[in-house]
């Protein structure tokens, strides 16, 4: 380790409490940003689960609908046949979709309710842990987490879409922080909507000889008033929705984390410098230039911040590990982009924090060492 590094480390670690508080403060401040990024990335992962697992290569929706979450998409039922007729379409399954409340006893949960045709090959539950994977009239498949919380199991009834349905299957991997996914029969769903001949989405599997992009373009060209996207695009749109809607919150929290981190590091480094003034005096008396002393200060703040960054990362990783295991449907996903951003934050914080003590260092009079009882 260089002389500066050694001096910096010594100066920092001599006062353990101060060092711990400084590192802890930076860690928490950086965690603020790291954890929030991770939470939103996790939410984005969860929200795309249905789109990712529905098994469709192409999604056909009402014109202007590019997302699933919270929105509505209603197409004339005749669209399904028109989509089937497009070259390259191997299979087309219409589904009905609405964000509804499922309740059983006192437990209520928001759910994507999917209406599935009897002969569906796509869009149904992908991981049924108990019971049937097919729903008939008056039946429903719910998320097992919801069932557990509500204290219901197969054979019990729940309230959904303003009516009752009997649970015939429990699926897993169908719950997010925001909602779960439930599956009912297409006919039940349609009856609730007054029997109008509509569908929400048409899910398409493409022939092996062609690509989803080509078929999506073909459907878009042949069927009017629809928005056609490949499954990958649809999923990406959903991800962007989360990011765009949370962008402002994230930038505020980033700013807060930055300011708090800066305040903590600046303060501890400044105080550490003040407290070591005599030692800087000694160094100066020994012939050290201001440049060296600055570097010592800079090294101090970088050391605190680097330690804080590592502790913060460990803390966030711990959160990411613990949170999904305590029954919260919350997933934290730490991305490389977020790590780079926070790392950059940390470096800037360290740099800025070392500006304040510069004046202190340069004004240290080497003679201070020789004065007895001088103020520390």
């Amino acid at each position: 380790m260089s002389a500066e590094g050694l001096l910096a480390r010594r100066s920092l670690t001599r006062n353990r409490v101060r060092f711990a508080v400084s590192v802890g403060g930076v860690a928490l401040a950086l965690s603020l940003t790291l954890a929030l990024d991770a939470i939103y990335a996790g939410v984005a992962n969860q929200l795309t689960t249905y789109v990712d697992r529905a098994g469709a290569d192409v999604w056909v929706a009402q014109a202007g609908v590019r997302n699933l979450h919270m929105v509505a998409s209603w197409l004339p039922a005749s669209v399904t046949e028109r989509v089937r007729a497009v070259p390259g379409v191997a299979e087309a399954t219409p589904i009905l979709y609405s964000t509804d409340t499922i309740s059983a006893g006192d437990e209520r949960g928001v759910a994507y309710v999917i209406g599935l045709p009897a002969d569906e090959t796509m869009g149904g539950p992908w991981d049924v842990v108990q019971g049937s994977a097919r729903v008939g009239r008056g039946e429903i498949i719910v998320d097992q987490g919801f069932a557990r919380k509500a204290g219901v199991s197969i054979g019990d009834t729940v309230t959904v879409l303003g009516g009752q349905a009997r649970i015939v299957g429990l699926s897993q991997g169908t719950a997010s922080l925001v909602n779960s996914v439930a599956f009912v029969s297409f006919d039940d769903f349609q009856a609730v909507r007054g029997g109008a001949p509509v569908v929400s989405f048409v899910l398409v599997k493409v022939a092996t000889t062609t690509s989803p992009e080509a078929v999506a373009a073909a459907i878009g060209g042949l069927v009017p008033d629809v928005t056609v996207q490949t499954g990958t695009d649809f999923s990406a749109q959903e991800r962007r929705l989360v990011m765009d809607m949370s962008a402002d919150v994230i930038s505020i929290m980033n700013a807060v984390g930055f300011v708090v981190g800066l305040a903590v590091v600046a303060l501890t480094v400044y105080v550490a410098t003040l407290a070591r003034r005599r030692e800087y005096g000694v160094l100066k008396a020994l012939g050290a230039r201001n440049g060296l002393l600055y570097r010592v200060v800079l090294a101090q703040s970088f050391l605190s911040v680097a330690a804080g960054f590592l502790v913060g990362l460990a803390f966030t990783s711990l959160l990411a590990f613990v949170v999904p295991r305590v029954g919260l449907n919350l997933e934290l996903s730490i991305s490389a982009a977020s790590l780079i951003k926070v790392g950059l934050f940390a470096a800037i914080i360290a740099g800025l924090a070392s500006i304040l003590p510069v004046r202190q260092v340069s004004s240290v009079d080497p003679a201070v060492v020789f004065r007895r009882g001088a103020a520390v």
Binding site: L36, S98, T101, V178, V192, G194
Partner: protein
């Protein structure tokens, strides 16, 4: 306690730094807490302003913002005919995502009948929608997207003309927009769709009594206050986890910084406190001086911090009007109490060390 004050003010930079450290911490905690309160306030804006005290929804639905509700046919008629009902306002609500300037944004679209009510309560400019291709959007959202009256916007598979701008209608996931109920019915391809009924009881009729009396198959009759509470609960589940976590972290960091500031300020005066002892001061006096100094710095910092929070909140709302910051007195009291306690605690730890010192020791080394 002249001594405490004089000692404190002698080194102005250090004192200022302590105060500033405390102020920044307190300001940040309050700002975040206020931001969180503001979100809640915004979430209930529509129901707060809508007429009626009873809400009729699809069976099983207990909230307004979170889910789509579909009322059974004939529900409006049945409610109208019930005794004690003065007014019934049907509305259709649907969340719509749109994209402008490469960024996704959301409208909570409310379909209403201008003759019956349920529309914007603060129409800043323009008029209510008179035709099916007309829409009233939030003025803040309009400003952000560069929309003015007369502009066309794409609403799913059709175009709509902006005819009015409403105030106070932004919320955490976007903004509200208003169109005729028939616009939404055609947009959602559901000709007679009604999502909710806002019911006003006749004078002298109790809302709870109406709620108990109304029994229409396939519906849920709710008190408006309960629905607002449910919306908040729903939001708390969805949104509060991240924000709550942030407020908690900011609180811990903030209080820690207060402690750190006061701790270092005290520890750096150890020598002076030692000198006090050397001239015969008792430990009791020493503690009092230390505590008083900590309190002066903490109180000055806190006062500045509260001001800072209000300033930053106002600035934030001016910069991004969709954010509402509501700094609540309870939050201020709580944060101040916690920081003062922390300040005292942080000051007394090093003071104890000094108290145990032999007076002569301070002059050594």
């Amino acid at each position: 306690m002249l001594l405490a004050r004089r000692n404190l003010f002698r080194d102005r930079t250090r004192f200022l730094l302590s105060v500033l450290g405390v102020a920044v911490s307190i300001g940040l905690i309050l700002l975040l807490a206020g931001y969180r309160s503001g979100i809640y306030r915004q979430a209930s804006a529509y129901l707060d302003h809508a007429q009626g005290s009873v809400l009729v929804a699809e069976r099983g639905v207990r909230d307004f913002m979170g889910t789509s509700s579909v009322l059974p046919a004939g529900a409006e008629q049945a409610v109208r005919q019930a005794p004690g009902v003065a007014r019934v306002i049907p509305v259709v609500s649907q969340f719509v995502i749109f994209e402008m300037h490469g960024r996704k944004d959301g409208f909570f679209l409310v379909g209403y009948d201008p003759a019956k009510g349920g529309g914007p309560w603060d129409l800043a400019t323009g008029r209510e929608p008179e035709a099916d291709d007309e829409i009233v959007v939030d003025e803040t959202a309009a400003r952000q997207h560069g929309l003015a009256i007369g502009d066309q916007i794409r609403l799913l598979d059709r175009d709509a003309t902006v005819v009015g701008l409403s105030g106070g209608t932004t919320f955490w996931a976007g903004s509200m927009a208003f169109a005729r109920i028939s616009t939404l019915q055609s947009l959602l391809r559901a000709p007679d769709l009604q999502s909710f009924l806002l019911v006003t009881p006749t004078g002298g009729t109790d809302a709870a009594a109406i709620a108990n009396r109304l029994s229409i198959p396939g519906t849920e009759v709710l008190l408006k206050g309960d629905v607002i509470a449910n919306d908040r609960k729903l939001m708390a589940r969805v949104y509060d986890a991240p924000i709550g976590l942030m407020v908690a972290i900011a609180f811990v960091v903030g209080v820690l910084v207060v402690g750190l500031v006061i701790y270092t300020a005290t520890i750096e005066r150890r020598r002076e406190y030692g000198a006090l002892k050397a001239i015969g001061a008792r430990n009791r006096i020493l503690y009092r001086v230390v505590a008083l100094q900590a309190l002066i710095a903490a109180v000055a910092g806190s006062a500045l911090g509260v001001g800072l929070a209000y300033g930053a909140g106002t600035g934030l709302m001016a910069w991004r009007p969709q954010f509402q910051v509501e700094i609540e007195p309870v939050a201020i009291a709580f944060v101040l109490a916690a920081s003062l306690l922390m300040a005292l605690f942080a000051a007394l730890i090093p003071a104890r060390a000094v108290a145990r010192l032999e007076p002569a020791e301070v002059f050594r080394g």
